[in-house]
Subunit: 222 residues, 2 copies
DNA sequence: TGTACATCAGTGAACGCGCGTTCACTGATGTAC
DNA sequence: TGTACATCAGTGAACGCGCGTTCACTGATGTAC
């Protein structure tokens, strides 16, 4: 279910350790346990940057100093979490795009998938939405990198979409950036609004995105 | 120059204190001194929410406990700063809008004024851009309130502008919201980029805003 | 004008707390033979 | 199979620090008469 449960690292690989040294033991606590603990603590009122190392280890049930066996510091953990979050989101939105074909449908189902992920239990998207403006440089760079990937995928899809409609797009890269930033900004505020208003927000966001695309096509056409 | 120097509070008013009690002394340190100290400490790597009460008083040159004579806690100071920041920004953008008349001109000069304010020494805009996604509920509500004012003023101007061009606008409130959120989101990331790229960013932002307006008019027209 | 008094802005010292980080350690695991 | 040994994941205790907040205070300012 959650990307955290996929254990993508090859922890279980035999790893013969060909050079004479004894193989290291399999660790009892893993990076994933710590990432999961941090995610558990993140919420509408707690950002990654306000979590203390001790809080995370407490949540994970280990001694504070054991943290250092997995990460150099909280910054490193945060960056790992941001990467994870970005990868997960791109996958989900990518799937949503595959499902729809018309422009209207693509926008709507992508926005819907985004909001769904926003409300998901794993809180992965929260990380991406909150840490972009605060935290260390490493934080912000990590978030920006993920946004960049996102923009790039969106840009390609926008071109594909326009071609299917026999339309042209003015400055696809700019359109993609505008949409990405807008959706993330509105999404960030949506975290704090009650889920009852999600439908309304999806509608608003879809219209906003459509305005941008329509505007870009209108400019390209004239 | 800076709104901080305007001393809008009537500190110098005689205040006869008609009821028999002695008049309170004029305080040696004022709320403004503390606000100014906090602003001084805010920067690309420090948000209001990471400032400690002791840091601010240290910067202001007073004892830590003297803080409580002016504010209940750092939250109260932050909210005061956010209000100040919002008022200041709206004033500046309002002036920029007055100066231009055509759609193209209005968008450009507003965006330029925004970027100028972003680089201003007083750092007031930094506060508004950073604290929207983090900090206490009081923080976020204060920022949201300022964004709301901003949207409202923009909405009215958009309608005025469309009328001048004999055009109609689809959902002006939505257009205004999209533009506001987008500009603030891009502005937030711009704080961390070197000022050399400001011209490029102004160009990008202007184009994005124009896409939204064009899109909205195109949808209204069909 | 001078004197006694009340107010209260600002202070210095102290508190208990949670923090990040360090240190020397323990003991389970796996290797070598 | 059994034994001696090396590794190293995880620990408990301790450190110094900056924090927010409290307390009783001081002394300048302004009032009352």
């Amino acid at each position: 279910m959650s990307p955290l449960n996929q254990t993508p690292d090859h922890e279980d690989a035999p790893d013969p350790h060909g050079h004479g040294h004894p193989a290291p033991r399999k660790p009892a606590i893993s990076r994933h346990d710590l990432l999961a603990a941090a995610l558990k603590l993140v919420g509408p009122h707690r950002s990654l940057s306000t979590l203390s190392l001790r809080e995370v280890t407490r949540e994970a049930g280990i001694a504070p100093n054991s943290f250092y066996r997995q990460f150099r510091d909280m910054d490193e953990l945060a960056v790992a979490l941001i990467d994870l979050s970005g990868r997960s989101l791109r996958e989900i939105i990518g799937e949503a795009r595959q499902r729809a074909t018309s422009e209207r449908g693509v926008v709507r189902s992508s926005v819907e998938a985004f909001m769904e992920q926003l409300r998901a239990d794993d809180k992965l998207l929260h990380v991406l939405l909150r840490e972009g403006t605060v935290g260390s440089d490493a934080f912000k760079q990590a978030v920006d990198r993920e946004l960049g990937y996102f923009e790039e995928e969106l840009r390609i899809d926008l071109i594909r979409l326009a071609a299917a409609d026999n339309a042209r797009l003015h400055e696809p890269a700019l359109v993609s950036k505008a949409i990405t930033r807008l959706v993330f900004a509105v999404g960030a505020t949506a975290m704090d609004t009650p889920p009852e208003r999600d439908a309304e927000l999806v509608e608003q966001l879809s219209q906003m995105v459509r305005m941008i695309i329509t505007g870009s096509r209108a400019i390209a056409a004239k």
